[in-house]
């Protein structure tokens, strides 16, 4: 991870609602290196999907408040949907959360891909050999190009969408909960495909958004944990899992049952309390109310700083 590929600085994205702005992503500053697979973990409502989506397309309800995103030294105009068009698919690409329904049901897959690449000014003939090579790589038969999406199983659709999303060799790939609807064996194959795409240079860096820390532990180089719209911790995978510094990360990891841990022998505990509202978030550390280590200083907001090489934490107790 020598060179920085993605640099996000103080990014804030809010959702407009009738009751005011929901501060879904409230100031994120981080970098992703060249060739890095970063796992982005968090519970529902942590802002992880908002972060992933804002790197590629803000939908109508999303409002870019401040902050900048730089990819390979060029600034991404994420607030300007029209200008982002030149970057989407070629520079940044996404595998959406519901890849199952991401493909046009009325087109044969091959024709859909042809329309897609031609809309970017690329002839289908020029990409077809590469497309077929990649289908072989993900172990899909070339016949799928003549099929309709409904004829494919969930795992096959997921792999097809992965191939399509990465066809233009984007610099950054955002994979949003791509394995949550799959069975364990398919899940493993899909996760390993992500790694092979990186190893073969189809994508430079990848952000894998998931609620499942144990899944990203298998494939990611670094893991970033979010809580209630804020970054909590980012560290190399082994460090984050073995020696987390943020109390939330620690509690989250220790609440996960693993194969081999039994209720009768070792009773795990959850995190008491519930996540704060993001309509009127509390001042100071967002995790304060549920945190066993909270003390007076926590009414001030802890900055997200590097406490060791490549290990960033936002907690007063960790410094």
């Amino acid at each position: 991870m020598s060179r920085v590929s993605l640099r996000v600085a103080n990014l804030r994205v809010h959702y407009r609602t009738l009751r005011g702005d929901v501060k879904a992503l409230d100031g994120a500053t981080f970098t992703v290196g060249d060739g890095e697979i970063m796992g982005l973990a968090g519970e529902s409502g942590s802002g992880k999907s908002t972060l992933g989506k804002s790197l590629i397309r803000l939908d109508g309800r999303m409002r870019h408040v401040e902050g900048s995103v730089e990819l390979d030294g060029k600034e991404l105009p994420i607030w300007d949907s029209a200008r982002m068009n030149t970057f989407r698919f070629r520079e940044v690409s996404i595998i959406p959360q519901y890849a199952m329904s991401a493909m046009n049901p009325t087109r044969r897959i091959g024709r859909m891909v042809a329309e897609l690449v031609e809309s970017r000014g690329v002839g289908f003939g020029t990409v077809r050999p590469e497309l077929e090579r990649r289908l072989d790589l993900v172990q899909l038969s070339r016949d799928v190009l003549d099929s309709y999406p409904i004829e494919l199983s969930g795992g096959m659709k997921q792999r097809m969408v992965m191939v399509i999303s990465t066809l233009m060799n984007p610099s950054l790939l955002v994979a949003d909960e791509i394995t949550s609807a799959l069975d364990v064996s398919t899940q493993k194959a899909v996760a390993e495909t992500l790694v092979s795409f990186r190893d073969r240079g189809y994508v430079k860096s990848t952000i894998v958004i998931t609620h499942d820390v144990s899944l990203v532990y298998q494939i990611a180089d670094t893991i970033m944990v979010m809580y209630a719209g804020k970054l909590a911790e980012k560290a190399p995978t082994d460090v984050l899992v073995a020696a987390p510094r943020h109390p939330y990360t620690n509690l989250l990891i220790s609440s996960l049952p693993e194969v081999g841990v039994r209720f009768s022998e070792k009773r795990l505990t959850g995190i008491p309390g519930s996540r704060p509202s993001r309509l009127q978030p509390p001042v100071g550390c967002r995790f304060r109310d549920r945190c066993p280590l909270a003390f007076e200083k926590c009414v001030e907001e802890p900055p997200f700083v590097e406490v060791e090489r490549d290990h960033f934490v936002a907690c007063w107790k960790a410094y």
């Binding site: 064996s185 899940q187 609620h211 144990s214 532990y217 899992v241 073995a242 609440s255 505990t269 959850g270």
Partner: protein
Amino acid sequence: MLELGRISKVYKVGAFGGKDLTAVRDVSFDVQAGEVVSLIGESGSGKSTIGKMILRLSPVTNGVITLDGVDISTFKRKQLKDYYRNVQGVFQDPFSCYNPIFKADRVIGMIKDEYFPEVSGPEWSGKVDASLEAVRLDPSQVLNKYPHQLSGGQLQRLLIARALLLDIKLLVADEIISMLDASTRIDVLNLLGDLKARGLGVLFITHDLSLGNYISEKTVILRRGRVVEMGVTDRVFGSPLHPYTKSLLASVPQLHKKWEQVEVELAAQGAGLSGRCVYHERYPSAGKAPGGDGGPPTLAEAEDGHFVACFRLDGDGTC
């Protein structure tokens, strides 16, 4: 207590119901009082169908289900109502189990109207408070609220409390925690563990092996409607025999252990099993596809309390 005796389920599919789909084939196991049995399978393995048959939501095509020795398919009206006094189900999506127009505690009021019309008001609210306490809910936080004001974990626990009001013997828990957040799901899981100490039998249906391993005494692994391996949880997870169980275990993402490491360990464990089929060593006379009426049992007892099916994975393969 609850016993499934070689049950099968055939669905009619196709335009005029002209085709048969066998969702469950020749499945036998039992659930005792004070025991959690996890039923593990991937999507389409028939695990929910088994739960539905136990709850009498779907008729059994072949075989019998008995509760304390009585065939449940014979129950009509009054007896069926009494059956539901003993056996209740909780399902995956707590949000869709409530009518959003009414307050959430209506599900509790309906239990009183149907089953306890003679109980006086104060006595009833004492009972409600006790069962809410059993699921660790604060009555003031959940009573008199609408479903949208409560979290998924609270709604799910309210449904369990509702089932407990009836003094049930058996709870069918179909994927009850897959919709919950990691930090709160362990609380619901621990709740099941506490309830079993009170003598409740639980059939815990899940696709997540680590959750099943954490909570259950006995494990049943399903594949395409058949039981492939079953027994004491320790044995099934500790020394899996069937190739399918092994492949499932090898695909589960674990924290602190990478996939490669798990594969090496499983390979070392199964070294003595390659090329063998424990089932056909026990029942050499059984046909290639064991099962059907009057044939030998579909599972062979490999060691005390650890059963395994024929090792064959595909229709024409050898075992």
